[in-house]
Amino acid sequence: MINCKICKNQEYVGAFFCSECGSQLLSDQELDIDTLVIPSRDGTTEPGQAKNPGELAEGLSDFGLYNADRDQYLEIPSSHEFTIGRFVEGQVITPDVDLNPFEAYDQGISRLHATIRYVPKSQNYFVVDLGSANGTFVNGYEIPANSEVPIKHGDKVKFGKLEFTVLIPE
């Protein structure tokens, strides 16, 4: 049997989706379905490209997250993929972007809350909730954990209670 990572329901081997909550059971990588509507993770980190500091990753240069309450932009690393969360002393895996300056604890941000990912092939951005305690929301809808949800210019992405507007200038 396969365990659904999201609702813990058990499904038979060979199933692709959880029949209880509808989540995809295997990652796109495991399924290797990069021609499908749901873009693969393969395209996200092409060797030597994203990991190369100093050089701006293609397409990512203009991506921004703007918080209207504070009239503040989030500092974002120039890679195809980065994690967002709340840095805590002694933490083993630290987030690429620390939301402590936004009172992360009070806003209900988990240590590793979400990932933002850019897929050069389809030129799309995605947000993935990493199983955070208080959830990630896109335009008010809570997204399921561990699945890629596309985001575009103008979308409202909320981590816990902290909301950002996605800015992707043409």
Binding site: V13, F16, F17, S19, L31, D32, I33, I38, N139, E148
Partner: protein
């Protein structure tokens, strides 16, 4: 095809056997050799050989080539093309059950340009209860008039209205004097309640008057209301209709009609059930429906499917020409096979652990029967897969299968939410609709995602779907399964 196999001997018949004899012999042999019955060693191989023999001899073009000793049968020569695809290229050797999906696609070959036209034997069964009065009935009158104008020389039409009782407005007749018929339709008015059984029974009676003729038999049911207490009787009528080759398509207008009931009636007979929200959609639907019937290559397509031992068919779902669940039966009526509309069916099989010696796993054997003007055509097919060797990575699933399953999962979520509500679990239904909404969102279906979210709220506050939203979500997620 191997030349040294004698297909006639395999089926135990003489080379001069008629088509009917071949079919009978096949059924007899297959029954005896089916792995369900025959537990001897080599039974599966024998069964596969019988299948192969029949798949060649059952199609006249192929049989002729075989008789002449030719090996050069091109698939293009066949009037119909069958194709199968699987979610996995093989079966895992594991000690637990596993799921495998198969898609079977059947379509009329491109080289069949001119089809033998089959005339139509159509009954329009209109709900004219009080709720239909005004714009609704007006639109239905014009839509019916359109159909009457489109009828061919040989086509037959009848028109029945029903409320608390049925009235035969137009008994079954040819449409050679359309204006007279249209004038009669113009006099219809609305009154009374909705008793679908009355209308259905009268409509089927009109069709049955000419059941022996070589027609495409079709009943078009239009309703906007709930029928009470006669559901079971309607179901019986639908079963009888399916047996006699009559297809029922149903159109629900507004939000009050019982979608589960209407779906059952339609799928039982191989017809389609549609939800019409905007009245402007009625006329195009009527026209398309009838025009499609007039392009029928086979007036009825019948599917028989039988699973191998240790394999269960968990579900069968029709993806094309119109997505709908299929009844849980061994013999399924699929309606007409159109020249330019393939039928595509998604099967979900559960396979029990396989014995170590097995290298080819038989999932199921099936047969399509095409009822044509020129005679029946049987197309047997086998669904089987090799086993994957230890450590072998399965190939990624074909996109077409993955997408179909992905969308079917969404359709099932809304069905499960309804089930939750029926079982008095609104909290679970609420969570399911939230999940459905976010999955729809992630697939870019913003409009449906929004409706799912509204329905989640409705369920939270009132412990039920809204009448509109329920149908929007049900038929909306169903339509996602249409490719492109």
């Amino acid at each position: 095809m191997t030349r040294n196999t004698d297909y006639y001997r395999k089926l135990n018949i003489h080379p001069s056997a008629s088509e009917a004899e071949i079919k009978r012999a096949y059924r007899r042999a297959a029954k005896k050799a089916h792995p369900d019955v025959n537990k001897q060693e080599g039974a599966t191989e024998l069964f596969l050989e019988i299948q192969e023999a029949f798949s060649v001899l059952s199609i006249p073009e192929q049989r002729k080539a075989y008789d002449q000793g030719r090996d050069d049968i091109k698939p293009d020569d066949l009037p119909v093309k069958l194709a199968t695809q699987f979610s996995r290229n093989g079966i895992f050797r594991i000690d637990e059950p596993q799921i495998i999906y198969a898609i079977v696609n059947i379509k009329v070959s491109e080289h069949i340009k001119k089809i033998e036209e089959l005339p139509l034997n159509l009954a329009i069964v209109l709900d004219n209860s009080t709720s239909m009065s005004g714009a609704r009935l007006g639109i239905l009158k014009s839509a019916s008039a359109d159909i009457i104008r489109d009828l061919g020389e040989e086509d037959l039409i009848s028109l029945i209205t029903f409320n608390d009782r049925a009235e035969i407005v137009l008994p079954s007749q040819s449409g050679r004097e359309p204006q007279k018929l249209i004038n009669r339709v113009g006099t219809l008015y609305a009154e009374g309640g909705t008793e679908i059984f009355q209308g259905l029974e009268a409509g089927l009676e009109e069709i049955k008057k000419n059941i022996r003729g070589n027609y495409v038999h079709h009943l078009l049911l239009i309703t906007d209301g709930h029928t009470y207490g006669d559901e079971e009787k309607c179901q019986k009528l639908a079963e009888e209709a399916a047996r006699r080759g009559i297809v029922i398509s149903a159109l629900g207008i507004g939000n009050e009609w019982n979608d589960q009931f209407i779906d059952q009636i339609a799928t039982q007979t191989g017809g389609m059930s549609l939800y019409i929200k905007e009245l402007e959609q009625v006329q195009p639907f009527f026209r398309n429906n009838v025009q499609n019937l007039q392009k029928a290559y086979a007036k009825q397509l019948i599917l028989e499917i039988q699973t191998a031992p240790d394999v269960d068919l968990l579900s069968a779902f029709r993806l094309l020409p119109e997505p709908s669940p299929l009844p849980d039966q061994e013999v399924i009526s699929l309606g007409v096979l159109n020249q330019d509309q393939p039928h595509r069916i998604l099967f979900e099989f559960l396979v029990q652990p396989i014995a170590p010696a097995v290298e080819r796993v038989l999932l199921a054997n099936g047969m399509f029967t095409l009822k044509r003007k020129t005679g029946d055509l049987d197309l047997p097919f086998l669904l089987e897969r090799p086993t994957l060797t230890e450590g072998e990575e399965p190939e990624p699933p074909p996109e077409i299968i993955f997408n179909a399953i992905s969308h079917l999962t969404l359709y099932r979520l809304q069905e499960k939410a309804q089930l939750d509500l029926d079982q008095g679990k609104p909290d679970r239904a609420y969570q399911r609709m939230i999940n459905l909404s976010s999955h729809l969102m992630s697939r870019g279906e913003r409009k449906l995602a929004k409706i799912a979210m509204q329905e989640a709220d409705h369920i939270k506050n009132r412990h039920t779907f809204s009448p509109d939203g329920k149908k929007d979500i049900k038929y909306g997620t169903r339509r996602l399964m249409l490719p492109g």
